[in-house]
């Protein structure tokens, strides 16, 4: 589908939403190869907004909750589904699963199972592109829970010190598993936090894809000009539990209700109006997305399970 920017942002969020719903469905059927699977339903605007601001030469690093970043960056759904099904046609040959979903060919440097672990990678990638005089920018997504890990501090400091082209995007969904954000740190403003590194910090409504895009565009352009990193705090919410096992009992019901009402898909339509995204548009996207997902699941189903013998490959390059 050829879509203009606004429509494509909506489409991107819808694709993430429906893909993750389908992933959950397949998980319930027992089709996923790993028990590790975290969906980002409710958080689509962050991935879609930020990735829409990236250029082809740019890199990103992702988290355990990485389907959104992967899809928004243009990762293929068939090989993604195959990966989740543990098939040899998967991006990681069926050995990475959801938590490590990665397509290096689109500048995706990996979803990571260690919370904060990839901040080193993102800053390192930016170090090399800067040394190498490439104009690529690296986007580093992480949850607000990761903010308190030591590596986050080391990596933002280093990036700020050397003015590396890396954007730190905090997907602040207000919980790290059961830990509410306010119970994890006394500093709730990312603008304030960024001052510890002498870099710009922005707090943005992470449910408003257009606002996210705006902020990301500015940060990325700034980084590309060699002016260094930006810390973006995108305030969002995960509509479901941390993972399948989690009924989210630690969240007040009213809070869940209030936050779920702030659905980024609804918000966007309300903002741009029916002239921009009509009911017919949405219907067409739904139809197209469903077809893509059916095809992806079929591809995954039809693909062979990775051979055990392949487990002994790729230990060394």
């Amino acid at each position: 589908m050829e879509l203009d920017l606004t429509k494509s942002l909506y489409h991107s969020m819808l694709l993430i939403r429906r893909s993750e719903e389908r992933i959950l469905e397949e998980m319930m059927k027992g089709n996923l190869a790993s028990t590790m699977c975290h969906v980002s339903i409710g958080q689509e605007a962050v991935a879609a907004g930020v990735c829409s601001a990236m250029q082809p030469q740019d890199y990103l690093t992702s988290t355990h909750r990485g389907h959104g970043h992967f899809i928004a960056r243009g990762g293929g759904l068939s090989r993604m589904m195959a990966e989740l099904f543990g098939k040899e046609t998967g991006y990681c040959k069926g050995r990475g699963g959801s938590m490590h979903i990665t397509d290096v060919s689109i500048g995706h440097l990996g979803a990571n199972g260690i919370v904060g672990g990839h901040l080193g990678i993102a800053t390192g990638a930016a170090l090399w592109t800067s040394l190498n005089k490439s104009d690529a920018v690296t986007v580093c997504f992480f949850g607000e829970g990761a903010v308190n890990e030591g590596i986050t501090h080391e990596s933002i400091n280093m990036a700020a010190l050397w003015k590396l082209p890396v954007i730190f995007v905090v997907e602040n969904n207000h919980y790290a598993m059961s830990l509410a954000w306010e119970r994890s740190t006394p500093q709730l403003s990312f603008t304030e936090r960024a001052r510890a590194y002498g870099i710009p910090g922005v707090d943005v409504d992470g449910q408003d894809v257009l606002a996210v895009r705006e902020v990301a565009l500015e940060a990325i352009e700034r980084a590309r000009r060699g002016e260094g990193p930006t810390l973006i705090g995108a305030h969002t919410y995960r509509f479901l539990g941390h993972s399948r096992a989690d009924p989210s009992k630690y969240r007040p019901a009213e809070e869940e209700e209030r936050e779920r009402a702030r659905d980024p898909l609804t918000i966007m339509r309300a903002k741009v109006g029916a002239e921009m995204i009509s009911d017919q548009d949405v219907e067409a996207y739904e139809q197209q997305v469903k077809e893509v997902l059916d095809a992806a699941v079929k591809f995954a189903e039809d693909s062979p399970l990775a051979q055990p013998s392949t487990l002994f490959e790729d230990i060394y390059a």
Partner: protein, 330 residues
Amino acid sequence: MSVMMYRDALRRALYEEMKADPRVFVLGEDVGAYGGAYAVTKGLSAEFGTERVRDTPMSEAMIVGAAVGAAMVGGRPVAEIMYVDFITLAMDQIVNQAAKIHYMFGGQIKVPCVIRTQQGTGRGAGAQHSQSLESWFIHTPGLKVVAPATPADAYGLLRASIQDDNPVIFLEHKGLYAVKDEVPDEPYVTPIGVADVKREGSDVTLITYSRMLHVALDAAKQLAEQNVSVEVIDLRSLLPLDMDTVLRSVAKTRRAVVLHEAVLTGGLGGELSARINEALFSELLAPVQRVTAPDVPLPANVTLEKYLVPNAEQVKKAIEKTLESKQKVH
């Protein structure tokens, strides 16, 4: 005797220690109302309050650091690291601080803390959530390391660990939490540093620990039907190692197999094999065999993962090999 799950036995130990000693407290990620990623601390914060069963920010180095510091001034903290894989973030606090402080400062101060974590396979959790890293810790003088395989030992060793005046790395296993078995009703401690003969036998000694104990017992049972009598030793403590029990058994059977889930190279199996050979070289009728995971990271794939985890078939083969092996001829 009551039948209880491994996780419940651990919780009972925590509960009783906290009741008995106000210095004991628990900290870690999601250990509070959530009850821990593997539900070990469920209900404890309701009982003892959120200060004594304390949710921490995601900061593994500081979780251990806080435990070490608290232990130095009178607390008896029990810290939880959700997966052993994340202990990579706390190695300085464990290895350079906890393990060395008592020694380095000339015995002036003690560091009585327990670092609970879980390791191993079974959930297709992938390369960064399934490792078995006990080897690193047994290579660190000043630590104690335990790895219980049964609910009864989990209970008794956790009590002993909390009562111990040294830093103890307490290795649970994600595949054991739901395992049920009998646990005595009377309180007790299982001493650290004492292995347990979980099955007596006379033909070969099978030495293991943690979840592999159950694979070992399974293999032993199958072999019994073929009239092979396997003695199964559950090390329980990995540092210090109870070599008395091991060597007594191998002196009797003159054959040994070591079984663990950690990868082969640099694994505890090498240490045991070396020690057995050193002590019983002329007694041994066959080389000590090691049954372990191969030197491969683990896939996030429940089906594929199984190919990398030792199973009863492999254990039986290794045992058969020790039985076949000719005596030495020189």
